[in-house]
Amino acid sequence: MPKVTMVQALNMALRQEMEKDDRVIILGEDVGLDGGVFRVTDGLVQEFGEDRSVDTPLAESGIVGMSIGMALYGLRPVCEIQFSGFSYHNFHQIENHAARLRWRSQGRFQVPMVLRTPYGGGVRALEHHSESRETFWSHIPGLKMVIPSGPRNARALLVSAIRDPDPVIFYEGKAIYRAFREEVPEEEETMPIGQSQRVKEGKDLTMISYGAMMRPTLQAAETLQEKDGIETDVIDLLTISPMDDTLFVESVQKTGRALVVHEAPRTLGPGAEIVSRLVEKAFYYLEAPVARVTGFDIIIPLFSRENAYLPNVHRILRAARKVMSS
């Protein structure tokens, strides 16, 4: 199996789905010749032509509204919004339409579209290029919100998202686009949307994270094992909404202690929902307050200070030790 970056894995997912299914169309700003500003759609216009890889004018509501129309007609549009910081321009098209048209037509129509967009900090970018706002999408009924954490699950989840009969927001962590490689099989691979995954087994502490934050989380887990002898049970959420609480609830029933890590601001970040589900479903097992290691409730600063804003191994360790000692 070749070892590829997440960018390459996503490209592979798109290419293979486009080969298989002529309903799959990619569209967005600079997705054609440029291959997308992160090169996720590299080579697709050459392979499939301008009808399958569509450069659009600079208008996000236009891109998403057009995708909705394409999906209603029976296509499977995969649109790219260049940075998640510009996806608020199309927020009304998602809230008012993409998430509702199945319901509004009592099942007559469906909107099987995917909105791919890079999110998160850590790449020394300009303003609006580093936020993590998965909460916005995860609070909208009718929508799905997926965040992969590495090349292999990114590829499998994107394939599943494209085939999903409902609209999916697909956040791609810029920090992990090229940070590491994984083996990704040539042959088809899918992963169920709406299922989290245990990536490390342990009995002392449950750590829940997703996306680019899985890396510092796993690093912290290793240190905890080596330096503190703490065995962590690490859950990768993968889908933020609909949120799968079975694994992390089960885990806390075993460990009694939990910690959540995300880059999104703390207030009403996904961690809030995770804590609430634990209170609802594992209250009597909880031996200590669940910690939230998150972005602060401020706008992420320009890049010279972004590492101070983002959760890192140190911050996670600190919180984990506090949870273990309380």
Binding site: G65, I68, G69, M70, L72, P77, R104, R108, P165, R277
Partner: protein, 368 residues
């Protein structure tokens, strides 16, 4: 290039065929078969009478808020008449007559305005989108559909409706720009009924016409007397034919008038005069069209009377059916349907909670 006037390839025109007295400009008369003329006439009358009936149902508290269409029958029926079944329509919330023409049941209209999601699905065999309330948003859906039709090499078209107010929204702009760029087979019908709730056309935009906004995208724009069904039909047919032939999008401004309140929650006395309303009464699209049909010798007062009776009975039947459907306690649990193809586990848990709760207090208790 020193200082020069720029000439723009696209043109903006105005069109009128039947004047306000119902008199015809013969040179422009479209070639519409008699049968279709009479069918259109009937649809106009049905639209008007059903609108009136909905208003009385609303006033009696038997349905909720709705947006009357009276006065705009020609503007919407003339536009959809040249469409085929395989074409798609993306209405706003004021195209009831056009929706009935395309096959929606009156029962569905009543159920939806009665607060039942069951009123929503269009009949399976029709391609029309459900009513879109967020102003102008549907223009983009029609554009996407049109793009897909072109991709599939169909010669079908998509038609979107919106109001004068709708031209101010960003989505209108983005939709028309995309339509121009992709030369998509989409026809944008702007029903300029002079008002966006209380905001008059003159405060909506400084441009003299709405049709001229097409120039920003180099697509054809035409301003049509929207109370003249022949003109609306002719302009739409031309645009539809062009779109089918691969020549792209058109913006059509139908100049018409909202004879009634914006919705039943609105009181137009706050912002417009009776005088203005009365002036427009004289341009009633049904009266004008009837005059034309009578002059043509294919309609008579007697035929009109029979038609009115007929339409009344049809409406009564639909009201009875719809009210019967509403009276049958429709399952409150059904609100969990169609959220996703498959209900996610946590929502399923909520559905169960609600089921238990319902069992405890009885359906009526919670439903009311």
């Amino acid at each position: 290039m020193p200082r020069k006037k720029i000439t723009i390839p696209s043109k903006v025109e105005s069109l009128s065929i039947l004047n306000e007295k119902g008199q015809l400009d013969k040179t422009l008369e479209p070639d519409i078969p008699e049968e279709l003329l009479l069918k259109l006439h009937r649809a106009m009358v049905l639209g008007r009478r059903f609108d009136e009936r909905l208003l009385s149902l609303q006033r009696q508290g038997r349905i909720g808020t709705f947006a009357p269409i009276t006065g705009q029958e020609a503007s919407q029926l003339g536009a959809v008449a040249p469409l085929r079944d395989t074409d798609w329509m993306a209405p706003s919330f004021r195209e009831m007559a056009a929706e009935l023409w395309r096959g929606k049941a009156m029962e569905s209209v009543i159920l939806a305005y009665g607060g039942y999601n069951e009123g929503w699905p269009d009949e399976k065999e029709h391609n029309d989108l459900p009513v879109a309330i967020p102003v102008a948003s549907q223009v983009l859906h029609a554009l996407g559909i049109a793009w897909a039709m072109k991709y599939r090499q169909k010669d079908d078209v998509a038609m979107a409706f919106l109001g004068d107010g709708g031209t101010s929204e960003g989505d209108f702009h983005e939709g028309l720009n995309f339509a121009g760029v992709y030369q998509a087979p989409v026809i944008i019908i702007c029903q300029n009924n002079q008002w966006a709730i209380s905001v008059p056309r003159s405060k909506q935009t400084r441009s003299k016409t709405l049709a001229q906004k097409a120039l920003a995208y180099d697509i054809p724009g035409i301003q049509v007397d929207g109370n003249d069904i022949l003109a609306v039909y002719a302009a739409s047919k031309e645009a539809i034919d062009r779109a089918r032939a691969g020549e792209g999008a058109t913006l059509i401004e139908n100049v018409t008038y909202r004879m009634m309140m914006h919705t039943t929650a609105d009181d137009p006395k706050r912002y417009r005069t009776d005088k203005e309303v009365n002036a427009w009464k004289k341009r009633d699209p049904i009266i004008r069209f009837q005059k034309y049909l009578i002059d043509k010798g294919i309609l008579s007062d007697k035929k009109i009377n029979t038609l009115e009776e007929d339409v009344k009975a049809e409406i009564q039947g639909a009201v009875d059916n719809a009210e019967a459907m509403m009276k049958k306690t429709i399952e409150p649990m059904d609100m969990f349907n169609h959220a996703y193809e498959e209900l996610p586990p946590y929502t399923e848990q909520q559905r169960k909670e609600f089921e238990e709760e319902l069992a405890e207090i009885g359906k009526e208790g919670n439903h009311a």
